[in-house]
Symmetry: C2
Subunit: 343 residues, 2 copies
């Protein structure tokens, strides 16, 4: 089967956005009350939002299951208070749960965390636990910069984050490191902030001597093909050697994985050439940052399966690991679920 | 000939650093006075600092001329005031001028600009003009984030920067977009901040509809192989199409160039595959961010000439453009200088 490890509910019914507007309006004018604690969205609306988008692309491209989370750019952890973020995260995660319940063969959930700038990540433990144990989610998205482009939180290797990591390890769920929108005018969200965050997070992990000693089973996925990292693989190997990193660079790959959201063939060629196959998880992030068709190929830029299928250097076993095996290893709760279904 | 368009004086005699210490000590304790307005460094000290490093590598690797500028990480525009930055830039640029005077066949100067957070770039015009017209420099390094990792300046496409661009156009000199050290603990300097800045700057330029209409001959070099950009070439082409960029994406390449500071063969393969040859300028940034030897090849990571020489897909004419032709086109003052010498 083909598992896409990176999809967001970017096509959610408009009611979700209207709910968010009312929620934020209440910050500006506390006399406003929310009519209901969650948007009213029917099952049919959910079906319609997916049938013409994610489900259609799954069918057309021949992928099976998408690891699905709330829209990343809408997490907007920098807006409002910790209470705002808690409520909004709960609403978004509940909606993902409804998607996964309606289409259990097509979607499995990953949660948004109720992060808030300057608020200890310990505050996210409760929602993570709820999503995993009650809603059947298999991972979370972790924002290394809840300030939205101002980078005021400690690096991901700081003990500040440890309470969240303890819960992730206990639940045996990985995190995809994924920022949200940028409110810094220097950074375009999907063209700079996303990619920079991937690169930044990898370098933070490379600098740490303790994190993966303290949490040997902690696992991170760096999305968007790892930002700039595979393209600069020599730089990172060289920096690790110059700083006499111990454990060595390669050891980092026990805990750090890359997705395949790279939207052209030469990029995927590079990724699969330099990053060990066991560290690559198939992903497209459809429907996401780039929605158009490449005039040079006649296919969607984000149809990443086409690129991987064209890499002759990959054996069938290797391709299988990228498409399925690695995702089942990095997301053990998914593997267990699939095994229950005899898959 | 082979022109390396990206080298910094990272091996400057220790007197330069001691001078900087005294300068900054004077900020903390204004009663301290500098003994002299510049460090006392002899010609022999300069020769010694280069013979064992940059000149040795030029000889060993078979490169001829390095476009040379002050150490990027030491620019530290975020430290002190605009006056601090002016004095420090002048000292550093004067030292580069001495290098270029001692070794006119091996080095040609590019200047550090006396930027300071929140201070209008118009303030840099005088030093740029001095360096170009009096010292014979051929370009400048422009820091898109003089705050050192907090990204508080307007994007490079903002009119805020226009007075500097006017002078660059008048003098017909390009800028390499290059940040300095990071004082944001999230960003490792050479492993994150440098690469992020390259990616960020490219995306800023991609978003602009006016900059290169207003300055049709303005030219920027994005160093470190363009950050993440070539690896995500499909993403950028797709974003440009999605936003119906006008002029089209390809038009941006009239004004934007990439260097070859990518420290492994697959990265250089990708760069030369996706970026038009006319937009690639040879560079190594030696002696710079990565100083070690790759145990897999037995050669220095930053010996980028080796990688380019291995790209069979490049014709000899194309290789010549990367090694020499493009640099002479992007730096017309260098071209004029070389022609004077009959080269």
């Amino acid at each position: 089967m083909i598992i896409d490890c990176h999809g967001h509910y970017t096509t959610a019914p408009r009611e979700l956005e209207l709910f968010r507007d009312r929620q934020l309006a209440g910050l500006a004018d506390p006399s406003r009350k929310l009519a209901a604690p969650a948007p009213e969205i029917s099952d049919d609306q959910i079906r319609e939002s997916l049938e013409k988008a994610q489900l259609r692309f799954q069918r057309e491209r021949g992928t099976d299951l998408t690891i699905f989370s709330p829209r990343a750019s809408a997490m907007a952890h920098h807006v409002g208070t910790a209470a705002t973020s808690r409520h909004w995260s709960r609403v978004c995660n509940d909606l993902i749960h409804r998607v996964c319940t309606l289409y259990p063969d097509n979607f499995v959930g990953v949660c948004q965390l109720p992060q808030s700038p300057g608020v200890a990540p310990a505050d996210c433990v409760e929602e993570l636990e709820r999503c995993v144990t009650e809603l059947g989610f298999i991972g979370c998205n972790l924002n290394p910069d809840p300030s939205g482009g101002w980078w005021k939180e400690p690096p991901l290797t700081d003990r500040w984050w440890y309470p969240l990591y303890e819960k992730m390890v206990e639940l045996d769920v990985p995190a995809m490191i994924h920022v949200s929108s940028s409110c810094n005018p220097c950074f375009h969200a999907t063209g700079a902030h996303y990619i920079n965050a991937d690169t930044t997070a990898f370098m933070q992990l490379l600098l740490s001597r303790d994190l993966f000693k303290d949490f040997p089973t902690l696992r991170f996925i760096i999305p968007h093909g790892g930002g700039a990292v595979p393209y600069h693989w020599g730089r990172y190997r060289g920096l690790a050697l110059d700083m006499k990193r111990e454990p060595p660079f390669e050891k980092l790959l026990d805990n750090v994985f890359f997705d395949t959201c790279v939207y052209h063939l030469p990029g995927i060629e590079l990724l699969t050439k330099v990053v060990p196959v066991d560290n690559i998880l198939f992903a497209s992030e459809m429907v996401g940052a780039v929605r158009g068709i490449d005039p040079d190929t006649g296919h969607h830029f984000d149809d990443t399966k086409r690129y991987i299928d064209q890499i002759d250097a990959l054996s069938e076993t290797e391709r299988h690991r990228i498409y399925e095996g690695n995702a089942r290893r990095v997301f053990p709760r998914l593997d267990a679920r699939l095994k229950e279904r005899g898959m």
